[in-house]
Amino acid sequence: MEELLEILSQVKPGVDFEKETELVDSGILDSMAIIQLVARLSDEYDIEITPIDLVPENFNSAQAIYELIKRLDD
């Protein structure tokens, strides 16, 4: 989780990722940022994120992203 928060703050500095629960819906993470994030995540965690996973529910909070990673790692 710590690691994830660090990646997040690198992609989009200046956001309190621990508290935000509407990252996508409120427009903090636009599709460009998501793509950057996905590129980093797939690199760091060696997972394959496919377009089907790219829905707002999976990226709205750090917790949701963390769960996505765990799910894809299995």
Partner: protein, 528 residues
């Protein structure tokens, strides 16, 4: 048959709707199916044929994809991890072949009918340079709606490939999904998982659906007949003869065109969503007060939303996540600054998206440039973002403050207005000429002596447009603030609901530009 016609309301909806209501719940969807088939056939016999081909392709590809996936799911239980991986690769390969062929078949009619002339033109000019052969230009009459339902079918095929849902097992139901009559000619581009359950559910009559739907229909008619059509007369005159007129008139015409396009498109979508609503079906919303956007990117997330999300899900993400772009991303991380490393891969994907968006609107260089215009603006915006951040912190400007937000909205309006002018003009050069024409011969006498009112849109029309736009503005501001006036009216107390609804109906009947003396104005977005 166009939507905004007596035939559609009195001859079509007035027949299909009661049938839908009296039909038993389980069979209701068949009424929609029959209605949609009939609608396509009346619209254009050729369209019906194209629709059938696309539906067949989507149906069988979807079925095959789900079968492959399920076969894999049952087989993998008894396999070791390595074997699983091997099998998965094999299945994925097969699935890829299926999804590719399905997409190609669906796209083929669109590509052949819409783009043959365009590609021939490119071939001819290239071949002309080398003195090669020249092809005779072939153009086809494009059946209405082909650009919309093709995207819908492709979305369905790709989603079944991704395993988002299982394929439809009933062919008629899939045909209904692809050809559902309220959205066949202008969208909104629907998604199977959201639309299909509603189509087959079989809704009974409720007051909410009826009044809600009727309000939306009249609201859409108000936009289209009172505002859009009245604006169209002057727009046509000035855009066709812009060299004849001075800055004031040309500038007014470009604004009027933006108003015309928005009220035409969103008005028609409202009429269609209203119709669907009467049947208990909620279509995707296609607009969210686009003219309040603070950036061009935001504008496109609020304007023609279903096209934007379609391109995001089926072009932008797949391209961004494809192996070459991923590699590009990794390479740029090594060789560039962190900021640039983030920009380059998505810029590449965005380029593809905007090229596609441009071409989707029409097969000509003009539309390609139209798409790239927005791409370039957004790219510049992204690249300059760090500069802006630095600058504003140095100047101590609150970029999120009211003044800056307002200026951002105005800036976006100007950029969008230029984009719209490009959209309406015959070519890029003409657009340039029109934009520069806005700044020449500025003569207030054009208004004082009424020249501006003699170009097809007279004083009364201007007044109707002005009041109409004001009403729309109030409704839009309320919606921005979280109050949906329309549904508030439809579900409100009788002393609010009745006067407003009656006022709306009367306004459409009295102030609408229809009847003898008014030419019929074709829906702009139905032509794509």
């Amino acid at each position: 048959m166009t939507y905004i016609s007596y035939l559609y309301f009195f001859g079509f909806v007035a027949v299909v709707y009661p049938l839908y209501l009296v039909c038993p719940k389980k069979q209701k969807w068949m009424v929609l199916f029959a209605g949609s088939c009939l609608f396509s056939i009346i619209l254009d016999g050729f369209l019906a044929v194209c629709l059938l081909v696309t539906s067949l392709a989507a149906f069988f590809c979807g079925k095959l994809l789900t079968k492959l996936q399920e076969g894999f799911n049952t087989a993998k239980k008894d396999l070791s991890k390595d074997e699983k991986k091997q099998l998965k690769a094999k299945v994925t390969k097969k699935k890829k072949a299926v999804v590719a062929s399905g997409t190609i078949i669906s796209l083929s009619s669109l590509v052949v009918l819409k783009y043959t002339g365009f590609f021939e033109g490119i071939f001819n000019s290239v071949s002309g340079i080398f003195g090669g052969i020249q092809l005779p230009l072939i153009t086809f009459a494009l059946p209405l709606g082909i650009s919309y339902y093709t995207l819908q079918a492709i979305g369905y095929i790709v989603d079944t490939y991704r395993g988002k849902y299982k394929a439809e097992t009933n062919f008629a139901k899939l045909v209904l999904f692809i050809s559902f009559f309220p959205q066949i000619t202008e969208g909104p581009i629907g998604r199977y998982d959201k639309l299909m359950p509603q189509l087959v559910e079989g809704h009974k009559y409720t007051n909410e659906n009826f009044t809600g739907g009727a309000t939306l229909i009249f609201w859409g008619l108000f936009k289209k007949l009172v505002i859009s059509d009245r604006a169209s007369y002057m727009v046509a005159e000035v855009f066709d003869n812009y060299t004849k007129y001075g800055g004031v008139i040309v500038f007014t015409a470009t604004i009027l065109y933006t108003i015309q396009l928005y009220t035409d498109f969103s008005g028609c979508i409202d009429v269609m969503s209203g119709t669907a609503r009467m049947f208990g079906i909620k279509l995707e919303s296609n607009f969210r007060q686009p003219f309040f956007s603070k950036s061009v990117g935001e504008f496109w997330r609020r304007w023609h939303i279903t096209l934007g999300t379609w391109f995001k899900d089926y072009v932008f993400y797949p391209v961004s996540l494809s192996a070459p772009v991923m590699n590009l991303s990794k390479a740029s991380t090594k060789h560039m600054s962190k900021f640039m490393a983030g920009v380059v891969p998505s810029a590449f994907a965005l380029f593809v998206v905007w090229l596609g968006t441009g071409l989707w609107h029409g097969a000509s260089m003009k539309y390609v440039m139209y798409g790239l215009y927005y791409f370039i603006i957004m790219l510049i915006g992204t690249l300059l973002e760090p500069v802006f951040v630095k600058l504003s912190s140095k100047l101590r400007i609150d970029r999120k403050g009211k003044i800056m937000s307002f200026l951002a909205v105005v800036r976006t309006l100007i950029l969008v207005n230029i984009g719209m002018t490009m959209f309406r003009a015959d070519s890029l050069e003409e657009c340039g000429a029109i934009v520069s024409r806005c700044f020449v011969n500025i003569n207030i006498n054009d208004i004082v002596y009424g020249t501006i009112f003699s170009l097809g849109t007279d004083k009364h029309d201007f007044l109707a447009i002005l009041i109409g736009v004001l009403i729309m503005l109030i409704v839009a501001v309320m919606k921005e603030k979280g109050t949906d006036v329309l549904s508030g009216v439809a579900n409100g107390k009788i002393y609010i609901k009745w006067p407003v609804m009656m006022g709306l109906i009367i306004a459409v009947f009295v102030f609408g530009a229809y009847g003898p003396g008014y030419g019929f104005v074709e829906n702009i977005y139905a032509q794509f």
